[in-house]
Structures are given as structure tokens and as C-alpha cells.
């Protein structure tokens, strides 16, 4: 199958660069504050920050419309924010407040936003793969040109549903993009230890899916790979598997002792930081000057300040809501 590689909307540093930088910076600021909220007792249970991985969600989302679906995972705030979710309502959900997208019923691992096609962050590793496959089936059956994206980590490639979904998407030519954020750790287990075929893209190739590796620390690379995949899906050319090589700087969740990796390794990855790289590129290409870069950084901080004050001032939900919305009563 020949892909017309010219027709998709390539990342343009001048027009797409500044907005990508601002979005990545906002997500970075948002995610960086989460451990503090956990320590302060504002977050219950588990929350999984994605600091370091911003380029993937931002790069992929540039190609998406509101009517496209995304199914996310346990480390999914960035997927939501990049798809257009409001930081204030997202944070309110993480803090269990009434004004959260789900009225405080979902929390960090169950943030869904219907009008943005966000089928939820998810507490079950790999579950979004099946949901996104289904959303792509819905688009195809309805004759709509919507596409669906499944975000999952390297750990989820060991779930059986991935093989089933790859096969189903391939035989039905479904408009779905499978995005693996390979951050090299399934909680504390390394890719090398747990995956027999560490060249993850070969898993897609085995099912006949066009499968590509991209530098997940480079928003431009992710963005172009995703735009091509989304274009293929929208044009009826079927599914694509993207493996984005990335890294999370923080622990799996609050309280992670991180005995499974070294400080050196973390520092090495920080040398490839997607935000610094894009900022530098914008500076050296004369798209932005230092003052403009500083202004973007300040905008990100103030956006998250606003989200924080919105979320913290939102009341906790009325207890009566614990018993509603289990089912629709149509009888």
C-alpha cells in the first residue's frame, strides 16, 4: 500500500512550535505539582505523573479533532490536556471535587470528557486498546471520518488484548492509531526483563500494521508520525502502530522508591528533554526570542495557578451523588 506522504499536515516550527511549547510547558507544570498535592493530602489513592513524556500527547493531539476519540491509561492527564481538556476541571477531578469532569467520581484514573472524545483515563493496563478499537469501529460503521487513538505503555504490550486488537483492526481496516509510550518501565519492571521482543514495532508488523518508531522526546517527530497515521486512518487506509521512545522523570506514583533505576539514567534522559529541545530550536531558528520563551513559561505557570485555585476552591461533591448515575433509568 502506497502512502501519500505529502498530503498530511506536517509540523511547522513557525506556526506549530510556539503552541506546542506552551502546551507541553503547561502539562509539565501541571504534572510537576501532583506529588505536592499528594503529600498535602489533597489527592487520595494513586496518581501517575507523566513529567518528561509531554511530547507524545502534544504531538499526537495536533492531528486530532474534537470528534476523534482517545482512550488513555493510568498515566493519562497529558492525553486529556493535550486533547483540549480544561486544566482546572481536570485538576478538580484529580482532587475529587464537584467541578471535576466526572464530579469527583472518577479521579486521576477515570477522567472522561465526552464532548472531547476522551473515553477515559483507565485503571486497567491495556484496557484503552480495546475501547479505542471499538470507537474506531463505531466511526467506520457510522461512515464518519473520525479516528480513534489508544495510548498505552510498554507494559501494556504484554496484555493479550493488544494482539487481539491489532488483528481485529488490521482485518477490518479500522481507523485507529495505537500509540505506545515506551517509557521503559512497567511500574518497576524493565522492558528488557519483561518483553521477549524489545523491538516493539515488530509486534505491529507481525499483524501487518504499518509500524514506526519515533523519538518520543521530540514533539516534531511524534507530531509528523501521528499526522501521517491519522491521515491514513481518516482516508480509509487503516490502523498504524507508533512506538514513541520516551521516559518519565518522576516515580511511577507517589512513594516510589525508584530502586529499579539510577539517578544517572534519569539525568541522561533529562538531557533529551522535549521542552528544552523545542525551546532551543525555536530560539536558534529565530522563531522566538528569549523574552518570548520566558513569556510562554510564565503563561504555563499562570495557567496552572488558575487551574489550582479553581480546583481547590471547588467544593467536595454532595454525598447523595455517590448513589446516582449507576444506570440510566429508561423504564
Amino acid at each position: 500500500m502506497t502512502i501519500e506522504t505529502d498530503v498530511f499536515n506536517k509540523f511547522d516550527l513557525g506556526t506549530d512550535g510556539p503552541s506546542a511549547l506552551e502546551l507541553m510547558s503547561t502539562i509539565r507544570e501541571f504534572e510537576s505539582r501532583l506529588p505536592g498535592y499528594s503529600e498535602a493530602g489533597l489527592i487520595r489513592g494513586s496518581t501517575h505523573p507523566s513529567v518528561g513524556m509531554e511530547a507524545v500527547a502534544v504531538g499526537v493531539s495536533r492531528a486530532l479533532r474534537d470528534s476523534d476519540s482517545v482512550a488513555s491509561n493510568h498515566r493519562g492527564h497529558a492525553h486529556c490536556l493535550a486533547k483540549g481538556a480544561d486544566p482546572g476541571r481536570t485538576l478538580a477531578e484529580i482532587l475529587g471535587r464537584r467541578d471535576g469532569y466526572c464530579g469527583g467520581k472518577g479521579g486521576s484514573m477515570h477522567i472522561g470528557v465526552k464532548e472531547l472524545g476522551i473515553l477515559g483515563t483507565n485503571g486497567i493496563v491495556g484496557a484503552g486498546i480495546g475501547l479505542a478499537t471499538g470507537a474506531a469501529l463505531a466511526a467506520q460503521a457510522q461512515g464518519a471520518d473520525n479516528v480513534a487513538v489508544a495510548y498505552f505503555g510498554d507494559g501494556a504490550t504484554n496484555q493479550g488484548v493488544l494482539s487481539e486488537a491489532f488483528n481485529l483492526a488490521a482485518i477490518w481496516n479500522l481507523p485507529v492509531v495505537f500509540v505506545c509510550e515506551n517509557n521503559h518501565f512497567a511500574q518497576s519492571a524493565t522492558l528488557e526483563e519483561m518483553v521477549a521482543q524489545p523491538d516493539l514495532h515488530r509486534r505491529g508488523e507481525a499483524y501487518g500494521l504499518p509500524s514506526v518508531d519515533v523519538d518520543g522526546m521530540d514533539v516534531e517527530a511524534v507530531s509528523n508520525a501521528a499526522a501521517e497515521a491519522v491521515h491514513r486512518a481518516r482516508s480509509g487506509l487503516g490502523p498504524t502502530f507508533i512506538v514513541a521512545d520516551t521516559y518519565r522523570y518522576l516515580g511511577h506514583m507517589a512513594g516510589d522508591t525508584e530502586i529499579y533505576r539510577t539517578v544517572d539514567q534519569v539525568e541522561q534522559w533529562k538531557g533529551r528533554d522535549p521542552i528544552n529541545r523545542l525551546a532551543e530550536k525555536l530560539l536558534t531558528s529565530n522563531v522566538l526570542d528569549q523574552a518570548q520563551l520566558d513569556a510562554i513559561a510564565a503563561t504555563a505557570v499562570s495557567a496552572v495557578d488558575g487551574a489550582e485555585s479553581f480546583a481547590k476552591s471547588s467544593p467536595y461533591p454532595d454525598v447523595s451523588s455517590a448513589f446516582t448515575q449507576v444506570s440510566e433509568d429508561i423504564r
Partner: protein, 336 residues
């Protein structure tokens, strides 16, 4: 809706319900293994016959043997706005898709604060009686009735199969629709009217004992009732038809009349849905019961293959008679 009732087998009634619902709502899709390519072209028990001819292969899809992704993709398709029916060849295989059902579909409305409807029907067949053995014969309805967010339908007649399947597809909640593999060829009058979920059916009127039973057990209870009538026990039989939502009011009204109760199910007796019905009845009708309610269910054993063994673990008409007599024993003694 005043057309004369047709005599249909259960599989034909289900087939008619699918055809009628797919005609009425062009957004519906159905998928499953061997749906259009098996037998005479209608899935393992014929229920999807001629669906692909009528509605096309976009809406009627043969699938690979991949229950996990079928059910989770069914949930995703439904969340994305497509009314979706998934046929699972035997209900035992639904366990492979438990995540899609229990962790995803059942919770999608609630955990996202009411934003999403999930109009998903997972159709399958349960029950024993035709020698399919341990992994093709289970009655697992209680598992699903226990999960908040799921509806559970267990039709036992052709009319109920038609009317309830249409309501299940129209429902905006995920619904487990369990047909009974030994009843597909049972015939009955079908009026083609919708039947709301959560409304029990009085399968036989009587005044001495209320038997609550579904599917094959309703059929056996009806046989037992004829024989009990000869012994002077007039049995009323209530078929709940749906286990969630479930209609206790019809049961209470019956028990208030008969003052005696027996629950019979093909599911394993221990921790089965019968205990739920009895518990509710005891709380609500304690003063109106003349004896302790009794329950009968399958033995705590997998379904065996060999015919006499299979029959031995599932309640028979004879056992229903014996339990019925035990259930009314107290009052009979008073009368003597």
C-alpha cells in the same frame, strides 16, 4: 400492535427481534464469531440468520475468536455512540471478556459522572441439558446481576425473547442477555410487543405456593405444578425474566396470597440469585409467610458430560415436587 400472535421458536423470535430492531434503528451493529457463515448462515443457534443479507457486512460482522477485544470494543463502540450487540457463542466464553464488561462497560456511566451512555448488549447462551459439559453449560447470571451498572435478562419463552431483546437493545445501559441453549427450539405465541426490563411474568396462577424460576427451571416447574395439582397443591409460578432490574413486587403479591415460597434456579444454589429473592421476601413479607421459604439450585459441581450425571446436578421436576411439598409442609400439617 393488534396483529395476531405468531407461533415462533425462541431462536426465530430472537431473529425477528434483531431484524425489527435493526430495521428501526440504522445505527445498530452486531458482531460475533461465525454469525453469518455457520449452519444455514446464522450463528451457532441460527439467531443471526439472514441478518447480513438484509443489513450488510458493515453492520453484521463475523469476528475472529477474540472475546476480550470483542467485548471491550463493543463497550468502546457503544460509548462512542453506536448501539452495539456482541454475540458470544457460549456464555462461558464471556469470562474472557470480563474486563470489558465489568471494569469498563458497567462502570462507564458512573465513573465519568453520567457523561457516557453505553448501549451495549452482550448476547449469549447459558444453561445445561444438551451434553455440552463443564465449559459450555454454566449458568453464570448471578455473577452479572451482582455488578452495579449491568442489566441481566434471562428470557424463557419466545414472546419474552422477542420483547426483551428489543428492550435490551434500546436500553442505554450495558445489558447481559442470556438465552438458554436447551430452549431455542421451544415454540410459543409471539405478540411482538416490547417488554420492559424489570417486569416479572406470572407463568401460572395458583393459591398454595409461589415458585420463582427462570428459563429451563420455569419449564420444569410448570411440569411439576401439574403433578402437584393432583396432590392438592395449587402452584403459582413467577418468572422474573430479568434479574437486574428485578421485580419483587410481583413476587411479594404472590407470596402474600400463597404464604409459601420456593425459588428454583439452574445456577449453583449457593450464593445464587434465589437467596436475594428470598431475603427480600422474608424482610418484606415475614408476617405473611406460613413457613420458611426454600431454594433449589444446581449442586456445587461443574456441569458433567455424561447424560445421567448432567441430569443429576441440575434440579429436576421430581426434585421441584419434593421441595414444593416440603415448602408447604407446615401449612399442610396445620390443615390435617
Amino acid at each position: 400492535m393488534n396483529k395476531p400472535a405468531q407461533q415462533l421458536t425462541i431462536w426465530r423470535a430472537l431473529n425477528a427481534a434483531l431484524h425489527d430492531e435493526f430495521t428501526e434503528d440504522p445505527s445498530t451493529i452486531i458482531m460475533g464469531e461465525d454469525l453469518t457463515t455457520w449452519g444455514t448462515g446464522g450463528g451457532i443457534y441460527g439467531v443471526t440468520r439472514k441478518m447480513a443479507d438484509t443489513f450488510g457486512k458493515e453492520r453484521v460482522r463475523d469476528t475472529p475468536i477474540s472475546e476480550e477485544v470483542l467485548i471491550s470494543a463493543g463497550a468502546g463502540a457503544a460509548m462512542a455512540g453506536t448501539r452495539t450487540v456482541v454475540e458470544i457463542m457460549y456464555s462461558d466464553f464471556m469470562l474472557l471478556g470480563a474486563d470489558g464488561l465489568i471494569n469498563q462497560a458497567a462502570k462507564s456511566r458512573y465513573m465519568f459522572g453520567g457523561q457516557f451512555a453505553t448501549p451495549l448488549v452482550v448476547r449469549s447462551n447459558g444453561g445445561s441439558g444438551i451434553g455440552k459439559a463443564a465449559q459450555h453449560s454454566q449458568s453464570l447470571e448471578t455473577l452479572y446481576a451482582h455488578i452495579p451498572g449491568l442489566e441481566v435478562v434471562v428470557p424463557g419463552t419466545a414472546n419474552d425473547a422477542y420483547g426483551l431483546l428489543r428492550s435490551a437493545i434500546k436500553s442505554n445501559n450495558p445489558t447481559i442477555f442470556l438465552e438458554h441453549k436447551a430452549l431455542y427450539y421451544d415454540k410459543g405465541a409471539v405478540t411482538k410487543e416490547l417488554i420492559p426490563l424489570g417486569q416479572a411474568r406470572v407463568a401460572r396462577e395458583g393459591k398454595d405456593l409461589t415458585i420463582v424460576a427462570t428459563q429451563l427451571m420455569t419449564k420444569r416447574a410448570l411440569e411439576a405444578a401439574d403433578m402437584l395439582a393432583e396432590q392438592g397443591v395449587d402452584v403459582e409460578i413467577i418468572d422474573p425474566r430479568t434479574l437486574y432490574p428485578f421485580d419483587m413486587e410481583t413476587v411479594f403479591a404472590s407470596v402474600r396470597k400463597t404464604r409459601h415460597m420456593l425459588v428454583v434456579h439452574e445456577a449453583v444454589r449457593d450464593f445464587g440469585w434465589g437467596a436475594e429473592f428470598i431475603s427480600n421476601t422474608v424482610q418484606e413479607c415475614w408476617g405473611e409467610l406460613d413457613a420458611a421459604p426454600r431454594r433449589l439450585g444446581a449442586a456445587r459441581a461443574p456441569i458433567p458430560y455424561s447424560e445421567e450425571l448432567e441430569s443429576a446436578v441440575v434440579p429436576s421436576a421430581q426434585e421441584i415436587i419434593a421441595e414444593s411439598l416440603a415448602a408447604v409442609g407446615h401449612r399442610k400439617r396445620l390443615l390435617v
